[in-house]
Subunit: 183 residues, 2 copies
DNA sequence: GCAAAAGTGTTTAAAATACACCCATGA
DNA sequence: TCATGGGTGTATTTTAAACACTTTTGC
């Protein structure tokens, strides 16, 4: 999705506004990918600044997007885009992968509580490769930034998977102590 | 240094042109840092796109820069800058550190031939920490992307240090095989 | 001969990886 | 009872980190 920057807003505010118009979500996590300004990329000269947003898909209302003719696409099955938009998507994925290995941005994509199998499949989507579940759980749990809850999610299995929640205070504390998060 | 994007050039070309005007170097390695557009960052509304350049300091003519009132500064002793330029410098260093750990960008900062002590002190500057020279050399040499030459650089010691050169073919080949470079 | 930088290996600790079985439960 | 996804531990390999002495040579 895209739009223009108004004179009265900074560029991140503009991006937030556009996302809000398309999705109805007004408090959203955004990170800048970069600026794109090939001279022949549009009829008129346009410089685009690309952002990616991390959205909790459960909270997402798709009807608004459809009004604007916006579509969901899987990254494996991306349609061909106009101008340098293919490059934008490619760069976005690269940056997402790099940042995901340094920051726990995965948690922005999920509800407050989530199961470990869900979190794992999220990371598998980001990195486009499978992860051993024992190693994944070990790594996460030894960081001690997750809190196990008592409830289970039974939507994916009969046994059910325990919910966890991200402990941001603990995380911030570890960062301050110079800990290098990596997944 | 800074300048404006002309209607007839893309944004990277504009950055190259500006660097050329300030330094006399017209073929330069540039990477984009990002776009900055706080609304109160200037008298008129300006959106800046920041780039960093990697320059072989030996080839650099400082007289041109001085004409434009541009100055060299050590990152440890940066003066306070206007608007959001401090943030730009901060982000640049962060990005440089991240990219340096993934790409052998260090080699763009040196002449074709360089000594290992020089390369090491370059990386020490980038990461702002000292590195054990035995571990550094081991890591680099086991990658087999450097070729030892017969000549020595005697400018820094009586004994002299052997020159090496970067083997880009070998490096590209390793990348293609899925090798993950990291320093 | 001595100061100053270049060069060289080994040992230890930590982190990543590979791998296979039992558990709980709804149908 | 059985099919399905959830959960658990250990052994091995790889990688990172710590560490000290010898070499060369211009002065």
């Amino acid at each position: 999705m895209g739009g223009f920057v108004n004179a009265s807003e900074n560029i991140k505010e503009a991006a937030k506004r556009v996302v809000g118009e398309f999705t109805g979500i007004d408090d959203i996590y955004l990170e800048q990918v970069g600026a794109y300004g090939d001279i022949n990329r549009d009829v008129e000269r346009v410089i685009s600044i690309a952002y990616y947003a991390l959205v909790d898909i459960n909270k997402f209302d798709t009807s608004l997007a459809e009004k604007y003719d916006a579509r969901w696409a899987r990254i494996n099955q991306m349609p061909e885009l106009i101008f340098d938009h293919n490059q934008m998507v490619k760069d976005t994925i690269t940056q997402l992968q790099r940042r995901a290995s340094v920051k726990p941005i995965g948690f922005n994509l999920l509800c407050d509580q989530f199961t470990l199998p869900t979190l794992q499949s999220l990371y598998e989507s980001i990195y486009q490769e499978t992860i051993d579940k024992r190693n994944f759980r070990k790594k996460l749990l030894t960081m001690e930034i997750l809190e196990k809850l008592d409830e289970k999610d039974k939507s994916n299995s009969k046994r059910g998977a325990f919910y966890y929640q991200f402990n941001k205070e603990k995380y911030d504390q570890l960062i301050e102590q110079g800990m290098h998060f990596s997944l």
